[in-house]
Amino acid sequence: MTGARAFLQRTLIAAEMQGRQLLRRRLALAILVALPVALYLAMLSQSKESAIEFGALGMSWSVACAALFAVLAAREAEPRLVLIGFRPAELMLGRFLLLLGGGTAFAALVGVAMTLASAPVSVAALFGSCLLVPPIAVSLGLAVAAILPHDLEGTLVIIGLVGIQLALSGGAWVNGILPMNGPIQLAYLAGGFPADPVGLMLVHSLVYVVALLAIAAAGWSLRVRVRRGRPAAPVQ
């Protein structure tokens, strides 16, 4: 088997097994779905436009926490997998792809629901806001898990980062340096509020995704590294 084919096979099976585990956590999945919906509906009674921002940030919490716990559930098994031949990058990439796919499907559904309920000024901006959430939130969850591989600590950091953005008003400069600024600004645009230029939001989001993934990859590789790396050739 060629190196590229083996890489693909291992990445795909890592993604598949991640998906199987996630689907079996039915209660957790239900709560992950309910959280952004509840936030959105709670705000909808006050402001249809502002509710979009709450829905997007609720999704950020859900997706980032799903990524965090996906990593933590595998922290005992993954050093073994690396010991026998998996590369940390294959495990990380498989997980990222699975969570990104699931998160994007979820975001699209939430986008449809919010479009119907909020009647946004810009439907494109609303979907942009929703679809920008999964890559950033998955990367954030993976990075936090790599740095703080503990349930409580990791969850609190995610609650803190997203919660600060939820509490801030749109123009606050602090928003500009936090990871979810792109989706928030697009949510403002969708609601007819003033917002930063779209290009700037996309660059901001892209920089965050790349930086967070780099932290996640480096941190997790260090945590699951084995001295030997690949298995030595069998004894003749």
Partner: protein
């Protein structure tokens, strides 16, 4: 000195001289291993070798560094000093089963088998054979969190054996086994020896030390031959 400082290169009643593959040198050679956790020194200059076709038991009191030494040999824990040289593929069975709670046995086999380039079908077939030998209830589809402790441990051991490793690093692999499975485990150890595998097993079962070739006692500085556990331990 409280840290374990043992050498495993001495001879027991069976030093492995006539064992399969003995002439090709050790498959595991650890030298001068030092490890401390904070202020606590756990291992202090430990030497250890395991040859092909040799079964070495790692014994010692709780906290003397047996599991740490095994993890260092596996490459999962980095020593503060010293080096480990190995040849061959390693099968590592940790004391706490490193399983994925929400995957069943076949899914574990498919995932672990992919590491060796095995297809799903090949991995499941090979793994099920190992599991059947360990009297694991193959095919019931239960996820690992729903298995009993002993059954989880059987899956843990089978995953270590998948891919025909030349070196077996086993950390009390029979925990939770019923009596029949426990006896069966030591029969397997004899078979692995005959097949030329190098087996390093952490054990507290001093009654079984007659079934190994050499004993390395991390509590005491000199290796003890099988059948000579320290009095009162």
């Amino acid at each position: 000195m409280t840290a374990a400082s043992a050498t495993g290169t001495g001879t027991g009643t069976g030093d492995g001289a006539n064992l399969p593959g003995r002439g090709r040198g050790p498959l595991v050679a650890a030298s001068g291993i030092v490890k401390h956790y904070g202020a606590k020194h756990v291992l202090d200059g430990v030497d250890l070798t395991v040859h092909p076709g040799e079964v070495v038991a790692l014994v010692g009191e709780n906290g003397c560094g047996k599991s740490t030494l095994l993890r260092i040999c596996a490459g999962i824990t980095r020593p503060d000093a010293g080096r480990v040289e190995e040849r061959g593929r390693i099968g590592y069975c940790p004391q706490e089963p490193g399983l994925l709670e929400l995957l069943n046995a076949d899914e574990h086999l498919a995932l672990f088998g992919a590491a060796f380039g095995l297809s799903r079908k090949e991995a499941v077939a090979a793994g099920r054979q190992l599991l059947e030998e360990l009297a694991f209830p193959v095919g019931d589809g239960a996820v690992s969190k729903d298995l009993s402790g002993g059954t989880r441990q059987k899956l843990n051991l089978a995953l270590a054996l998948l891919g025909d490793p030349e070196v077996l690093l086993l950390d009390e692999p029979y925990q939770g086994f019923d009596t029949g499975s426990y006896v069966n485990f030591w029969d397997h150890v004899s078979r692995w020896r005959a097949a030329g595998r190098a087996t390093l097993v952490v054990t507290h079962m001093l009654s079984e030390l007659s079934r190994v070739d050499r004993v390395v006692d991390l509590t005491h500085p000199t290796p003890r031959p099988p059948g000579f556990p320290e009095a009162g331990r």
